[in-house]
């Protein structure tokens, strides 16, 4: 028994592991709660695109010696506003527009990277390195988490309404497009905060997979957010242990843990469906 406890606590003698744990918890909290809206509003593709388009911002910042987070934020916010604008004027289909912008921006990032001395410097941006989170990174992550959660709480009522019935929102004078911009901006911030943890390429998994798993388990929004947060945070911790003991990529381990939870949720849901009697119900008063 004490062996297990030792095994579990040993990693956290190190400061970098404590920082990493905090980062995992905070990023899980941010991504999972905003991820529920991303999944329910069918914005999964946008989430993915947003994380990829941040790459050129980061690379430019790196090559010029600016703060990487600032570069990421600028590129992320720019993309969020761009996507919002493109999808408002229905000249081309939204998913087509996103597909064009996201691959173009990502390619630009790769091109800029190839100009630099080596690709190696960028692997932690592409694939994340939670063990390398610095105190400054952690502060930024904490500020983003607090900000995102506060705004989600303040605008919950409106985000919820515009998600399932934007027309009613418009009729009562509430602009659905404003809420969409807000969500895209929060998404950009969430993506920036999670880059250190899972990297540009896999960030969308942290947004989408925990929320998708939770959506299989409940029909209540708050419960869905709660379950998604638990899954994301647990995955972060599992990934942390995996990278400490097995020396594997922390980002990949975290994402795979999320995927594992999703499969469990899927199985549970399928089983419940099998076992339940076919219900025929008609209630008329």
């Amino acid at each position: 028994m004490t062996d297990i406890i030792d095994w579990l606590t040993a990693p956290f003698q190190f400061t970098f592991m404590q920082t990493a744990l905090l980062a995992a918890v905070l990023v899980g909290l941010t991504c999972a709660s905003i991820g529920v809206y991303v999944v329910l509003r069918r914005m999964a593709f946008i989430g993915d695109a947003l994380s990829h388009t941040i790459l050129p911002g980061v690379v430019v910042a790196y090559l010029n010696g600016f703060s990487l987070s600032a570069g990421a934020l600028l590129a992320g916010v720019g993309t969020a506003l761009g996507i919002g604008w493109l999808s408002r004027r229905e000249v081309i289909r939204e998913d087509t527009a996103i597909g064009v912008v996201f691959t173009g921006m990502f390619a630009l990032g790769v091109l800029l990277m190839s100009q630099a001395r080596s690709f190696r410097d960028f692997t932690h941006i592409l694939f994340g390195n939670i063990l390398g989170v610095t105190a400054d990174d952690l502060t930024l992550i904490a500020v983003i988490t607090a900000g995102v959660l506060l705004l989600l709480f303040l605008f919950h009522k409106e985000l919820e309404l515009t998600s399932f019935d934007p027309i009613h929102a418009e009729v009562i004078g509430l602009k659905a497009s404003w809420l969409r911009y807000l969500l895209l901006l929060l998404l950009a911030f969430a993506v920036v905060s999670s880059i250190q943890v899972v990297g540009v390429v896999m960030t969308s998994a942290l947004l989408i997979t925990p929320a998708a798993a939770a959506s299989l388990l409940t029909h209540r929004l708050w419960r869905m957010m709660g379950i998604a947060i638990v899954i994301a945070v647990a995955s972060g911790v599992i990934g942390l242990y995996a990278s400490f003991y097995a020396n594997v990529s922390s980002g990949a381990a975290i994402v795979l843990a999320c995927t594992g939870f999703f499969l469990l949720a899927w199985l549970w849901q399928a089983l419940r469906h099998r076992l339940a009697q076919p219900e025929v119900e008609e209630v008329w008063n």
Binding site: L40, R89, E90, L154, F155, K157, E158, E160, L161, S163, F164, D165, I167, H168, E170, V171, I172, G173, L174, K175, S215, T218, H219, R220, L221, M224, E282, V283, N285
Partner: protein, 248 residues
């Protein structure tokens, strides 16, 4: 309070009709084709009027323009003596069922509660009074047993009634029903008569878009027939009732 729109509350002009539409022309944003070409409609307070026509005749367009969802290209819309959007709570638009994401994780009770939002505005949370208001309306429409159901687990007719409950929770006076008869089951006619009777009892003004009047003549006070964005004369032998348009 931080209202959703700058223009919050305008009192109704006494003696003004519930709705007066003059020579209204509307095009969908980004297209040139006119969906409405000079339509007139006048609905007195408390009247129940049907908009009749085939798909694409302009019924939905007219309702959406009145609800403030589409801008008028020319002509005017006056609601209780005020321009559209002057008082957002007074108009309720019940969309075709396909325009709402019914799979969203929300209960019938919460759906009805969203009718209170126009009175709350930004940041204010629904109070106990708002919940009670919603529950009372749910009771009145006989939906109490379904209160905690997720909205996709309601039948088509129940979903219609839930939307109606929301309009009542909103304290709307002018109700715009877009094809409430569509995609509902065999109970449809019965349900529609029941709903119209209920709204008449509540002294609401109701405008209903439908492609088929069926045998509902006795339940409407008047009808406006539309084809290709224009008003047409009632087909021979069809119900017309009180005069609401420019033609007979």
């Amino acid at each position: 309070m931080f209202p959703y729109s700058r223009r919050v509350h305008q009192d109704a002009v006494p003696s003004a009709p519930a709705l007066e539409v003059r020579d209204l022309t509307v095009a969908y944003p980004g297209t040139r084709r006119l969906a409405l070409k000079g339509v007139n409609l006048c609905v007195p307070v408390g009247a129940q009027v049907a908009l009749v026509g085939h798909n694409g005749a302009g019924k939905s367009t007219l309702l959406k323009a009145v609800a403030g969802l589409l801008p008028a290209r020319s002509g005017s819309i006056v609601i209780y003596g005020n321009p559209p959007g002057a008082c957002h709570h007074r108009v309720a638009y019940l969309p075709q069922r396909g325009e709402i994401d019914w799979r969203f994780p929300i209960t019938l009770r919460k759906l009805v509660l969203t009718g209170r939002y126009v009175h709350l505005g930004w940041f204010k949370r629904p109070t106990r009074k708002d919940w009670l208001f919603a529950d009372e309306v749910i009771d009145r429409l006989g939906l109490s047993a379904l209160r905690e159901r997720q909205i996709s687990q309601l039948s088509g007719g129940q979903q219609q009634r839930a939307l109606l409950a929301r309009a009542l929770a909103q304290e709307a006076e002018l109700l715009l029903l877009d094809e409430p008869l569509n995609a509902v089951d065999a109970e449809t006619r019965h349900l529609m008569i029941e709903l119209l009777g209920l709204l008449r009892h509540e002294q609401k003004t109701v405008i209903t878009a439908t492609h088929d009047l069926g045998r509902l003549e006795s339940d409407f006070d008047g009808a406006l027939y539309l084809a290709e964005g224009r008003e047409i004369a009632p087909p021979p032998g069809a119900f017309s009732g009180m005069k609401v348009g420019a033609l007979a």
